[in-house]
Symmetry: C2
Subunit: 235 residues, 2 copies
Amino acid sequence: MSVRLFVDSPLKLKQEVILTENAHHYLVHVMRSVVGETVLLFNGKDGEWAGEIEKISKKEVQLRLVKNMRLQSEEKKSDVWLCFAPVKKDKMDFIIQKATELGVDVLQPVITRRTVVGHINANKMQLQAIEAAEQCERLSVPEIRQPVSLDLLLDKWEKGRTLYYLNERGEGKDFEKKKKVAYLVGPEGGFEPQEIEKIGLLKDACSVHLGRRILRAETACISVLAIHNHLCGWK
Amino acid sequence: MSVRLFVDSPLKLKQEVILTENAHHYLVHVMRSVVGETVLLFNGKDGEWAGEIEKISKKEVQLRLVKNMRLQSEEKKSDVWLCFAPVKKDKMDFIIQKATELGVDVLQPVITRRTVVGHINANKMQLQAIEAAEQCERLSVPEIRQPVSLDLLLDKWEKGRTLYYLNERGEGKDFEKKKKVAYLVGPEGGFEPQEIEKIGLLKDACSVHLGRRILRAETACISVLAIHNHLCGWK
């Protein structure tokens, strides 16, 4: 299987692409790639391309795009956000990786009252999302947003985007197929009653639940995205 | 929140329960429980009971059951198996934990041709399932079966149990609500064509897929179980 990398540059036939730094290190020192080998490239806009390695130097790998493998339009653009209260490192890594595999478009960390995790490195999360996208053969990379408070999230809510929020012990409706949707998963301790009340005031909000068992935050995140794909079509 | 433990003994009102070894260690040295405290107990048959600690000695914790908290019938018995090709340790731990949270009844490791993981400790997996059941407030514990080869699994297939198998690159039907169902998730490299062929010969087998992206084995396991719950009702 070919190496598959996300790049920033435009991709079109015969285009030259220069890879440096991490990508150079990965190709040369990890994968031990050689001149003539094929690498798959995507940038989230121009589909997937096969590039042939033309030259390897100490700091650069030079490729030439030789074939369009997939069109961007193959990956029908869904519009699904995952808004989640940050959790501990390994679980966070896990949520980013799985949400990317499951096709999420936006990952939005949300600070709630019971959120216990302090510092969030959105840039590092973005790199993890890129890596996951490379491996799961996505043509796009989810956008990692800077953390916001729950209040701010609600105050600035995009009109018309359904917000399904997981209400562990409360009543819940069934998920429905929605064009523009976000799933909000609270911290391990759940939302506080005042938070649930405030979310409920949002016109686009809809309470759902995943049964009476206590699901961990990361299980809930993956579950809602799997159900979303089941309802709205896997890509 | 009370400590919640799975026990082997029968549970009924006024019953005395003696906890030793791991449970003793956990209560006394980890949770620093004292006499008079309440512990929740379940055994997979008699619902959930509150027990009061009556006596703590060097090797035993003695409890008396004082109240029935939940009836076993509250947890409607589903009948869902997860048959999966074993993966590396941390991912395996993850599958056991999440599948338990998502209500699986039987976890069946299956050795396929491309399965690369050697030794499987079903007893240790059982302990992990117990721990996950304790934490997610299940009334039952999934049964961990000894690993079998794919051939043996198919040869001895229980008539009438639908086998949904994940066929990554192949055609797939939609999941349907089924009473008795098993989900079969292959190894990272997928099934071999001959394996797919053999599975397809089984009358109860039905090919499904989760889109064209490459889902990791553990993502696929959780996804099918989340969809199962969505279709058949969360408990």
